[in-house]
């Protein structure tokens, strides 16, 4: 260059040209570096992001399996309904957050605008039901009971309803065949929460945003089987969502059907009879309080004695499980959970606990035999039993002389058990227990499975309580502060009791063990626990884990996974004691406290031996709890009514009617097998055809009058209690 004549090429220009060149190449290098960073360093991340960008998932939700009764009658299945949903994401794009649209929608659906707005708000700690606890990105159902006209209005005026859809969808139906609601046993569904999605993310059954999850009852226990697996088809799409091709897909699997041992017909009878018994009890005056019985809640369990399978399980008050379908309304939710509601969601057969009263006596009877008191020995049954200054009265202050343990069960003599329990308490060292205290009466209760879950295949079963020394100690430690603060010597009943508890509430006092021996005091049991115990006495001693589910059957009926009952123990008694006890309990039905419900009123005791035990538990500040535990060789029926009166009085007729329906008996004891609902337990499983249809028999609602005897041959009467000899 130096030999080129310089015309106007000054060093300034030369330097500046070099500056320009340097600048230009640094810009290019910057681009190159950044390109390397994006493509090589972070390429993987962007590849993943691109993938999620252009792959769209289309989810075909799995149809939830049905819950069937023992003969295939669907207790819970699905139906197609018109569902109107609102998309929150669309609504929030509007200036007023969709308020105007929702108000218009409320008008079309005949709902209150607030009701609609509440349904589409998101649940959080401060928001009461109704609210949406599913994914905010998923359309939120406003109603699933839209009429065709409403759906058409919404679709035709789509421009007035942005973000609102009206489409047919499969929704859960609880059909209540034969008026058997089976509410608490079936449970209910609600949308999956974000937390559940997170938790189930890496398990073998992850949730989808749109999933409904069983929240209680069978819907919850068998949720995984019922839910199936949603099919996911992945499409390659362009920016407008147009499909370019199909990527890998996961085929769906519809939910399996759960066959239960419930018989819808028996269930209907159980529900009807429990309700009727409670209504009847409310008309009965209570001599102790001077008012009628409140009979505010009750439960009944019908169980197969030999397997522990549940044939019917009812709990009152109950509710219509369909109220949960498609999001529960504020009114319904308040009715089910409010203070005034009396908690219909509770399945009192497994979640209600109360002192058992005299139906508990099979436990102390066994305890006495195991402690060395012969079953057929004689024990005094005076009208009252005194410990120091305390007097423990027999029921209705009646004495029976000296009697065997069997007779004590029959007439339900309290003082026999007072005496035996007191003696054992003294042997164990009384207030200062020996190191090797036998605690026969408490140990036996634990051996009977009390104070522990029975292991039924329903969620949230409660344990009940055996008030043994350990429990007393821990209970005292929890409560002594309050007792010692509020206790007052010579004060009113509560103050005096608190005072005593403060001093020695951790100790097993003579009075405690005497009260305990007849199932009073702090003892708590659930109906299902008592059903398991009486079922075990019937079947020779096996304590079954009760089951409602009988089999899980694939939708095409081809794969059947039977749910085999398992046992959690055996009764602590030998065969001889079992037989003697069995005889005594038959005696109760024949000539004892339950005779006026069975033996004396036309029960075919020879043909179908009935065994029974009545119980009337006292609860401080409340009316007595009615208990009635019964069994035949095939069935065990336990009923309880809180604040309902005596065992045989309040629950007796209902239990009798349930047996009549099972065996096809009329009030006079004539058996008509054509009318018998289930003279022997259902052994076979219902047939499910390959196309998914289920062969289920027609089912008629229960007609309580069907057991009436034609005029003229009326039996001696279910009319009134016998004057004497009754003890619940």
């Amino acid at each position: 260059m130096s030999n080129i004549p310089e015309t106007g090429r000054t060093p300034r220009v030369q330097i500046r040209l070099i500056v320009i060149q340097v600048l230009v190449f640094s810009l290019l290098l910057t681009l190159g570096g950044r390109l390397w960073y994006l493509q090589i360093r972070q390429g993987k991340e962007y590849t993943d992001e691109a993938r999620s960008n252009h792959v769209q998932q289309v989810v075909q939700p799995a149809v939830r399996g049905s819950i069937l009764d023992a003969r295939g009658v669907p207790l819970a299945d699905n139906e197609t309904r018109l569902v109107v949903s609102a998309s929150r994401t669309e609504l929030l794009k509007m200036k007023d957050d969709g308020k105007a649209v929702l108000t218009r929608l409320a008008g079309v659906l005949g709902m209150k605008p607030k009701e609609v707005r509440d349904k589409v708000r998101l649940c959080d700690a401060k928001t009461p039901q109704p609210c949406w606890n599913g994914s905010p990105f998923q359309p939120i159902p406003v109603t699933n009971k839209a009429t065709t006209q409403q759906a058409l209005t919404i679709r035709e005026r789509a421009e007035d309803f942005p973000g609102i859809t009206a489409e047919p969808a499969a929704v859960r139906r609880y059909a209540a065949p034969g008026k058997s609601r089976t509410a608490q046993v079936l449970g209910y569904l609600s949308p999956v929460t974000d937390q559940e999605i997170q938790e189930a993310k890496n398990t073998d059954s992850p949730f989808l945003r749109s999933d409904q999850v069983g929240r209680s009852g069978l819907e919850r226990t068998y949720d995984k089987a019922l839910r199936g697996k949603a099919g996911v088809t992945r499409y390659e799409v362009d920016n407008l969502g147009r499909v370019l091709g199909e990527a890998e897909s996961d085929p769906g699997r519809p939910g399996s059907n759960v066959v239960t041992s419930i018989d819808a017909r028996v269930q209907a009878v159980a529900e009807y009879e429990l309700d009727a018994a409670m209504k009847a009890a409310r008309k009965e005056p209570d001599r102790n309080t001077g008012t009628n019985y409140k009979a505010d809640s009750g439960a009944v369990v019908v169980m197969e004695s030999k397997t522990g399978r549940i044939v019917a399980m009812a709990s009152m008050p109950d509710y219509d499980p369909n109220a949960w379908v498609g999001g529960i309304s504020a009114k319904d939710y308040a009715r089910m959970t409010g203070k005034e509601s009396n908690l219909p969601l509770l399945n009192r057969a497994i979640q209600g606990q109360a002192a058992p009263g005299s139906i508990f006596k099979v436990v102390p009877t066994t305890a006495a035999v195991n402690a060395g008191y012969p079953f057929n020995g004689t024990y005094p049954c005076p009208s009252s039993y005194s410990i120091g200054s305390q007097v423990f009265k027999n029921f209705e202050s009646q004495g029976h002389g000296s009697i065997t343990l069997g007779r004590a069960l029959e007439v339900s003599c309290d003082t026999v058990y007072y005496g035996l329990s007191h003696k054992e308490w003294q042997k164990d060292g009384g207030m200062k227990p020996k190191k090797d205290a036998k605690d026969w009466f408490y140990k036996t209760a634990h051996q009977f499975g009390l104070g522990a879950e029975t292991g039924i295949d329903l969620p949230n079963e409660v344990k009940g309580r055996v008030p043994d020394r350990r429990w007393k100690q821990s209970f005292w430690e929890t409560n002594k502060a309050w007792w010692c603060k509020n206790g007052k010597k010579g004060g009113d009943y509560v103050q005096q009791l608190s005072y005593e508890n403060c001093l020695e509430g951790n100790l097993m006092r003579a009075g405690d063990s005497v009260n305990y021996s007849i199932g009073q005091g702090d003892t708590l049991v659930t109906p299902i626990q008592m059903a398991v115990i009486y079922g075990a006495i019937s079947n020779g001693g096996t304590l079954w884990n009760p089951t409602v589910g009988k089999a899980i059957v694939s939708p095409d009926g081809k794969q059947v996974e039977e749910i085999k009952p398992t046992a959690h123990g055996r009764l602590p008694m030998d065969a001889k004691t079992r037989d003697l006890m069995d005889g005594a309990l038959a005696g109760v039905a024949e000539r004892g406290t339950a005779a006026w419900r069975f033996g004396q009123v036309g029960w075919p005791q020879k043909k179908i031996p009935m065994h029974a035990k009545t119980g009337t538990a006292e609860v401080y500040g409340k009316q007595t709890t009615s208990w009635f535990a019964t069994y035949t060789k095939d069935y065990t029926v336990v009923m309880t009514i809180a604040q309902g009166g005596t065992g045989s009085g309040a629950s007796g007729p209902a239990v009798r009617n349930i047996y009549d329906a099972l065996y096809g008996l009329d009030d006079a004891g004539n058996q008509d097998l054509r009318r018998a609902l289930l003279p022997t337990p259902q052994r076979t499983l219902p047939k499910i055809l390959a196309d998914g249809t289920i062969e289920a028999p027609e089912i008629k609602p229960y007609d309580p009058d069907s057991q009436k005897v034609p005029d003229g041959t009326s039996p001696p009467a279910l009319a009134g209690p016998p004057a004497t000899g009754r003890r619940d």
Partner: protein, 398 residues
Amino acid sequence: MAGANSFSVPRYTPEKGAWSRLTARDSMVRRLDWPLLFSALALSLLGCLLVWSATRNRTELNQGDPYSFLFRHALNTGIGLVLMTGTVWLGHRTLRGAVPVLYGLSVVLVLLVLTPLGATINGAHAWIKLGGLSLQPSEFVKVTIILGMAMLLAAKVDAGDQLHPDHRTVAKSLGIAVLPMAIVMLMPDLGSVMVMVVIVLGVLLASGASNRWIFGLLGAGVAGAVAVAALGVLDEYQINRFAAFANPDLDPAGVGYNTNQARIAIGSGGLYGEGLFNGHQTTGQFVPEQQTDFIFTVAGEELGFIGAGAILALLGVILWRACRIARETTELYGTVVAAGIIAWFAFQAFENVGMTLGIMPVAGLPLPFVSYGGSSMFAVWVAVGLLQSIRVQRPLSA
């Protein structure tokens, strides 16, 4: 002809055939800058493929003919080559005489944009629609500003009257630039104005104008940018583009969408790319304006680091050759014109590629040679013609 060869040594030559004349040692063809031509042509042809890939699925653009953009880009390239040849044939010195006319014509064209003939595309009112043709006059203005300023700045220096252009000349030349820039600003086509500012800077730098002008202009630019932002002269879409640049995750479905999708496309290409026509982002049309402003994302996704890097390398070759041409020519006019073109190409490429890579805010600027668009293609090829002419007409090295 005589003008084009006026620097060759005059001597008697017998009649020769056309081929001999073309291949003669002193012929124009032999003296062309072949690496420059090759790179520009390679970029244009690569552009054909990328534009094709970006548009073959966009039926709303190509009216059902997947090849239409391929053909049109190729046609534009062909017209560009003709324009380059014409420019070289005429020579930048000959053109110097026509600069006032060309400049006036370009100003009239930008003014036409503001008349009912103007059309708005992508928020920028920068086009003239004439029948089926749409022209973007701001592209031609870039050329005429360079030529106009260079003519004024170099006149007295090349005549030997001055060592460097005096203040009066610099001020006049700035006036030449500011008039069309103001009109373009009114469209508003902020991206083009930014390029023109950089062009003016490059031209002034190379002209040897005093440092005061350079720094003063830089300062004025910064102050102007601040004032524009503060006074709210910018349209909402322009502010949003800057906001999205500052934080691309701001609104991934809205203003940040372009940059986000662009980066995903480029990032997912990796080293070798997904192969031409196989890019998911491209096939799925996730990147808007992919055949024009975001053409680089097609290269990034489908050709990978190797392909996208090749584009940068080819641009590098063009700029390198241009820098050489600027340094080696003996007259200031040529130097200034070349420097203006360098500033133009470099900044426009940096802005265009930089925005797809997320290091520059989004501005509607085409990638020279590669992006689809007739006006841009014609302008850059004319610029190549100018560079070639400057090279051809420099004195032969001894």
